[in-house]
C-alpha cells in the first residue's frame, strides 16, 4: 500500500514537470476571426496579427526585408544613437541578449532608428563598432521615417515626432517575434530583470515544435 502511494506521488511530480516543460509563450497582437471553408465545411479560425513586409537598410548598407528574417526568431526595438535617456540602458541590456545568441544563425536583433536624418548608415556603423557588435546577429536599421513609424505600430509600439523639448518620444520595449512573424512577448528594455526573462523566453520559444518545424 505504501509503495503504491509513493508511486502515485512520483507520478504526480513527473506530470507536474512535464506540464512545466510544455509551456508555450502566448501569442500577442490583435486577433481576427477568419471564416474559411475546409472540406465543404465552414470553420472559424483565429488569425493573429503578423509583422507586414518591410524594406530597410542595415549598418553595412545591405538592404534588409522580411525575407532576410525568414526562419528566424528575432527581437526588435526602436532607438536613436544620440538618445540621452533610455537608449544607453536598453542597449546595455540588449548586449546581454546579443552575447547569449550571437552564434545562432536563426536568431536576429533589429534596432530601428527613429532619427534617420542624423543616424545615417555610416553613423549606425560607427555606433555598432563602438557598441562592440559585429557580424549579422544585430542589425541597426535605417529607413524612411514614415516607414519606421508605420512598422512601429505593427510591433505595438508608439514612436512619434519630437516633443516640444526637441526629444523623440518612443517606448523602450523589446519585442519578441517568432518565425511566423507573430508577436510572442514584449519586455521593458530598461529593466534588467525583464531582459533576463526575454532571454529565457527566447530559449522556450526556440524549443516550441512550431518553431523547430518552421524553416
Amino acid at each position: 500500500m505504501r509503495k503504491l502511494w509513493i508511486g502515485i506521488v512520483i507520478l504526480m511530480l513527473f506530470n507536474a514537470c512535464k506540464s512545466n516543460t510544455k509551456t508555450a509563450l502566448p501569442i500577442l497582437g490583435y486577433k481576427t476571426p477568419v471564416t474559411k471553408t475546409v472540406n465543404g465545411k465552414t470553420v472559424t479560425d483565429t488569425e493573429y496579427a503578423t509583422i507586414p513586409p518591410f524594406k530597410f537598410v542595415n549598418q553595412y548598407a545591405d538592404t534588409i526585408t522580411q525575407k532576410n528574417l525568414e526562419g528566424k526568431i528575432y527581437v526588435a526595438d526602436f532607438f536613436f544613437t544620440t538618445c540621452p535617456s533610455i537608449c544607453p540602458v536598453m542597449h546595455r541590456n540588449m548586449l546581454n541578449v546579443y552575447k547569449e545568441f550571437k552564434d545562432d544563425d536563426n536568431f536576429r536583433i533589429i534596432s530601428h532608428t527613429i532619427d534617420p536624418k542624423y543616424d545615417t548608415v555610416p553613423v549606425l556603423k560607427r555606433y555598432a563598432d563602438k557598441l562592440g557588435i559585429s557580424g549579422n546577429t544585430w542589425w541597426l536599421l535605417h529607413g524612411e521615417k514614415g516607414d519606421t513609424y508605420k512598422i512601429g505600430k505593427s510591433y505595438l509600439q508608439s514612436v512619434s515626432e519630437k516633443n516640444p523639448k526637441g526629444e523623440y518620444i518612443h517606448d523602450g520595449f523589446f519585442i519578441l517575434i517568432d518565425k511566423q512573424k507573430r508577436i510572442r512577448g514584449t519586455y521593458e528594455g530598461t529593466d534588467p530583470a525583464e531582459v533576463t526573462k526575454l532571454i529565457a523566453d527566447i530559449k522556450t520559444l526556440k524549443a516550441e515544435p512550431d518553431q523547430i518545424a518552421a524553416k
Partner: protein
C-alpha cells in the same frame, strides 16, 4: 594644578578635533547619499549602476587616476558637457556628453558620490570647491 589645566585643555582640543572630524563625516555622508539619488536620476542611464559605462560609447567612472587628474574640471564637465577624444581606463572615447544644468550643490553631491564609489576614494567634493571650479570653466 598646571598639569590639570594642561590636561583639561588637551582633552578639550581632542574633543573639538573629534567633533570637527565627525562634522566632516556627517557632511560627507549627506553629500554621498543625496549624490547617489542625483546619480540615479541624471547619470546612471549612461554610466551604469556600477559606473561601468557602455562599451566604447560611454566611458566608465572607475578610472580613479583620470578623475584625480581632472578633479578641478569635473564640475565643468557636468555643467557644460564634454566633447571630443579622451582616454579613460586605457581606452579612448570620442563622443559627447550633454550639458546638465543642475545646481552647484547637486553637482557637489553627485561628484562626491562618483568620487567615492566604483572603487574611487577622493573624499568630499564641497560646494565651495565646485563654485570655485565653475568660475574657471573654459
Amino acid at each position: 594644578m598646571k598639569i590639570k589645566v594642561i590636561g583639561a585643555i588637551a582633552i578639550l582640543l581632542i574633543v573639538i578635533g573629534a567633533s570637527c572630524q565627525s562634522d566632516d563625516q556627517i557632511e560627507f555622508k549627506r553629500y554621498y547619499s543625496a549624490g547617489s539619488l542625483v546619480y540615479q536620476q541624471h547619470c546612471q542611464n549612461c554610466h551604469g549602476d556600477k559606473g561601468q559605462g557602455l562599451s566604447s560609447l560611454i566611458p566608465p567612472l572607475t578610472d580613479s587616476t583620470y578623475l584625480k587628474n581632472n578633479k578641478a574640471t569635473l564640475a565643468c564637465f557636468i555643467k557644460n558637457g564634454l566633447k571630443g577624444k579622451i582616454t579613460v581606463a586605457g581606452r579612448s572615447f570620442d563622443d559627447q556628453m550633454q550639458a546638465d544644468d543642475i545646481a552647484p550643490l547637486e553637482i557637489a553631491k553627485v561628484l562626491t558620490y562618483v568620487a567615492n564609489s566604483f572603487g574611487n576614494k577622493m573624499g568630499t567634493i564641497s560646494l565651495q570647491q565646485v563654485q570655485d571650479d565653475l568660475k574657471n570653466c573654459k
